[in-house]
Amino acid sequence: MLTQYIPIFIVLSIAIIFAVVTVSASKIFGPQRPNKEKLSTYESGMKPVGTTRERMSIKYYLVAMLFIIFDIEVVFVYPWAVNFKSMYAEQGISVFFSMLVFLIVLELGYLYVYKKGGFKWD
């Protein structure tokens, strides 16, 4: 049934057209009088100091990695959640415990990260 995805493509293409038109509108209607001061980076009225292409704190990358781990956990939970009712009717309580074991294993990882100070921001 690919026909049910036709509306999605229509919506996505209209959204792209809308976004591009909106963003480029003031290029057409607005004035274009750039000068050096106007194009300089905003830094509370002072002359900009240094560069922004610098190193960031490792903590942000750590958050990104944790996100990937736990978001993939979510992805594994969804198929189980959708099928839980019908599978529970057939196979009984083992469906629940198999997921519980999976979650407990991942939560041990969560506790490890917690103890290592992965959730400390100060």
Binding site: Q4, V11, A19, V23, L39, Y60, V63, D71, F96
Partner: protein, 343 residues
């Protein structure tokens, strides 16, 4: 229905909905300004038209006629791409949200949702993840320190709350047995609203959607006293308007999503018992959906002008140490409910 008819009906629905969303975004800004003025004992915008009702249009024309400034330190292509991504995400998520039951129009049965797809919830989650790119790229490409800090903060914040958001949705899926939003709504008929069955999941999803839309108390990415404008410091004219529109459109989408997932969608309990004609019932149901959304939007605005802002470490601690375990408990709670009560 043939493919041509599908395209025609979709175009009709998209045009109507897009107009409505644009209008409600403009008026949401107006209402936010009026309500904040009311909360802070001020007047708010009341000059343009009767009680200031034409203020949104004045604002849009002002922004349209402003100069589009791209700073010379900026990466020009990505600087332009970022607001496009923000707008694209904000104006395509509404496609899967059902705002009414299936109606019969000119002999066709038309579901009141733009795209009734079986992976609707995944579509929403996927697009909201793309939204992170808009802020990160905007912050990185501007070449300004304020923007960079705002962008990095917003990406860390949004991905932290996305995890608990995903787990909260898992509880809904347990009951609906489907990722299709229309079936999620149908699974909540009567008083079986998910907000009552799984209150923990409702609260975690609500808090996570506050964080995802960057509203106070989670508006760290654009905290004015420390970061000027955050990731959109270096944006002007319609590019700035793009981020602004996207923020408010995201609020509308988020409240529509909360209504769909937790507050019974367009369903009104006991509506069938009065023996009203079907046309009136459907109209009431659509109005009920809009009313529920309006109340949530008022809640968003109310919270913004009442609570102070979190500190950054408090925000991340809340996301990982409170919301994440709570949403897991909610998932197990719903599974136990199903096994014990067979609902």
């Amino acid at each position: 229905m043939s493919i041509l008819e599908i395209i025609l009906f979709t175009l009709g629905k998209v045009l109507v909905l897009l107009t409505l969303i644009l209008l409600s975004v403009s008026y949401l800004v107006y209402f936010e300004r009026r309500i904040s003025a009311w909360i802070q004992n001020r007047l708010g915008p009341n000059r343009v038209g009767w009680q200031g009702v034409l203020q949104p249009f004045a604002d849009i024309f002002k922004l349209l006629l402003k100069e589009d400034i791209v700073p010379d330190k900026a990466n020009k292509k990505i600087h332009t791409l970022a607001p496009i991504i923000a707008l694209f995400v904000a104006f395509s998520t509404y496609a899967v949200i059902p705002f009414g039951p299936t109606v019969t129009l000119f002999g066709y049965s038309v579901p009141l949702v733009v795209a009734d797809i079986n992976i609707g919830i995944l579509y929403v989650l996927a697009l909201s993840s793309i939204g992170v790119y808009a802020m990160t790229l905007a912050g990185w490409s501007s070449g300004s320190k304020y923007s960079l800090l705002g962008g990095i903060r917003s990406s860390a914040q949004m991905i932290s709350y996305e995890v608990s958001m995903g787990f909260s949705v898992g509880g809904v899926l347990l009951l609906s047995q489907s990722l299709r939003p229309t079936e999620i709504v149908l699974a909540q008929s009567g008083w079986m609203w998910n907000a009552f069955i799984q209150p923990i999941g409702f609260i975690t999803f609500l808090v996570a959607s506050f964080a995802e839309t960057n509203r106070l108390p989670f508006d760290l990415p654009e905290a004015e006293p420390e970061l000027v404008g955050g990731f959109h410091t270096e944006y002007s004219s319609m590019k700035f308007a793009g981020f602004f529109l996207a923020e408010y459109a995201n609020m509308i989408i988020a409240s529509a999503l909360i209504v769909t997932l937790y507050l019974g969608g367009w369903q009104l309990p006991l509506i069938d018992t009065f023996g009203l004609p079907s046309g009136i019932v459907i109209t009431l149901q659509i109005l009920g959906f809009v009313l529920k959304m309006g109340m949530l939007l008022f809640f968003f605005i109310w919270i913004r002008w009442t609570l102070p802002r979190f500190r950054y470490d408090q925000l991340m601690s809340l996301g990982w140490k409170v919301m994440f375990p709570l949403s897991l408990i909610n998932l197990i709670w719903v599974a136990v409910l199903i096994m014990v009560f067979n609902i």
